[in-house]
């Protein structure tokens, strides 16, 4: 976690620097089918994050030696646009992106019914156009919607959410300053219905009790985020139904 700082991030009334309460999410907006060429796509705005996701596949895994005879391989690629962060980022993957791509791939692998597509790969391209803390969980949340929008069968949607510790308090969905100057960060990916944990990372300083408090807060938020995911997908199917109705 970030550097110590004198900035007060939570006031005496428990109001955070951006006006939120401790367990309040930033505004989230999800759209599907935002791209023409991809097999499935989604766009998410989560706070100041703006992230586009495209899904291609299932298609034959390439190169051949990456094929799994039992199931599809999920290849997620998390990438930040050069202009998405404060200082221009050089294009191409850095070590952080490689790690995030790996944990997101693993999280999706658990949610998708990969056994239906032996020898196939499913590519999930996550492009961060503007970054504002929590890109990995916002990207995962959108990726899950994009996979569903591609018509790929899933066990469950994956919901991404973060909790953390700021000024000694457990808070939901860290904002940028909270991420920079907070004391702990706990991003999680959770299967919406079953509550199974498919992504978890943590850094900073938490007691076991604080961990429990943070996860309770995340599970609680999971339902709200999943509603937004399902609404986005419902919109897609309503639109499809109307098209058909119009035929």
């Amino acid at each position: 976690m970030g550097t110590a700082s004198d900035i007060k991030l939570i006031d005496e009334k428990g109001i955070r620097i951006d006006g939120r309460s401790l367990s309040e999410l930033r505004p989230i907006k999800i759209e599907t089918d935002v791209l023409e060429r991809a097999d499935g796509s989604a766009y998410i705005e989560w706070g100041g994050n703006k992230i586009m996701v495209a899904v291609y596949g299932p298609r034959e895994a390439y190169p051949k030696h990456t094929q799994d005879i039992d199931k599809a391989v999920i290849k997620a690629r998390y990438n930040m646009a050069a202009f998405s962060v404060d200082e221009r980022k050089r294009p191409g993957p850095d070590r952080r992106s490689v790690e995030i791509s790996k944990v997101i791939s693993e999280a999706l692998q658990c949610a998708i019914i990969v056994e239906q597509f032996p020898r196939a790969q499913i590519d999930v391209y996550i492009e961060v156009l503007q970054a504002d803390a929590g890109t990995r969980i916002a990207g995962l949340t959108a990726a899950s919607v994009a996979v569903a929008a591609a018509g790929i069968p899933m066990r469950d949607l994956v919901v991404g959410c973060t909790a953390g510790k700021v000024d000694g308090k457990i808070v939901l969905d860290l904002g940028k300053e909270e991420d920079n100057f907070g004391q702990a960060d706990l991003p999680m990916g959770i299967l919406a219905k079953s509550g199974k944990i498919v992504l978890m990372q943590m850094d900073g300083d938490l007691t076991a009790e604080e961990f429990d408090e943070a996860t309770t807060m995340i599970y609680d938020a999971t339902k709200r985020i999943n509603d937004i995911q399902r609404e986005a997908l419902a919109g897609k199917y309503r639109a499809l139904a109307m098209e058909r109705g119009g035929e």
């Binding site: 646009a81 050069a82 404060d86 221009r88 970054a131």
Partner: protein, 260 residues
């Protein structure tokens, strides 16, 4: 440029487009001189110094500008620096692959850059912080999100829009923030040759059917600032003259409609 998923356009589609062209019409009903619908969303990424998302038909690109202080080139100590980069994101097309720029993305970036640079659109003389030591570097990064033909013009439009609203963070160097100084508006018009027809703003199918591509960038004064012939076919000199005329006309229309 890559072909479509199957690598080839279906016979039927091909015949349909070619037959239409015999009647002077295009597959989607456009005139040969007509662009697809253009939509521009400026300041899409507030965190960037300037940015824009452009849709040109079903092609979609985003340009973001970052402006940071740095060293000038040794041979131009009294000029700011412009660098242009294009990423053909794998998101945009089934056969695009992640990785360092390839010959296609490099060509697009260089043609777009040439239009901007040679028109002297950006007043680089006014981007010097300390002569010979420190200047403003204008990083233009363009990401292709959705590919349906004519990336060069889509990218140029996105860059124009992004630069027009870009702010130089002068306050970081002890001065004031100021608008990026802009002088001209170079518009690129890209055309392809199919049979003997010259069509502007080709979509993917037309690119696949075409034998050669030409891009002409002009400024308000109607002058040519950059040109590039692409692909393995040829143009006659008459073709090129026609293309220059078309670019000049369409460039004027686009400038009036989107950049006034």
């Amino acid at each position: 440029m890559p072909r479509d998923e199957a690598g080839i356009l279906s016979e039927i589609k091909r015949d349909y487009i070619l037959n239409k062209l015999k009647e002077g019409k295009r597959g989607d009903g456009r005139l040969t001189t007509e662009f697809r619908e253009i939509s521009i969303q400026q300041n899409y990424v507030p965190r960037a110094a300037g940015s824009a998302v452009v849709k040109l038909g079903k092609t979609k690109v985003i340009a973001g500008v970052k402006i940071e202080s740095g060293e000038p080139f040794p041979d131009t100590p009294n000029l700011g620096v412009l660098t242009t980069n294009v990423e053909l994101l794998p998101m945009a097309f089934p056969t695009f692959e992640a990785g360092p720029p390839n010959e296609n993305s490099i060509e697009i970036a260089r043609v777009v850059d040439r239009g901007i640079r040679e028109s002297k659109m950006i007043d680089l003389e006014n981007l010097v912080i300390e002569a010979g030591k420190k200047v403003w570097i204008v990083f233009v990064d363009i990401n292709i999100l959705d590919y349906d033909g004519n990336l060069i013009d889509a990218c140029t439009l996105a860059v124009l829009s992004a630069l027009k609203s870009a702010i130089v963070p002068g306050s970081k160097e002890g001065g004031k923030d100021f608008m990026l100084p802009i002088r001209n508006l170079p518009v690129s018009v890209t055309m392809v040759k199919i049979g003997d027809n010259i069509l502007c703003d080709p979509d993917l199918e037309e690119e696949q059917l075409s034998s050669a591509r030409i891009t002409v960038s002009t400024t308000e004064d109607g002058h040519l600032r950059a040109m590039q012939k692409g692909d393995s076919g040829f143009f006659t000199i008459e073709d090129v003259r026609k293309a220059i005329k078309m670019s000049s006309d369409m460039g004027k229309q686009i400038r009036e409609k989107y950049f006034q």
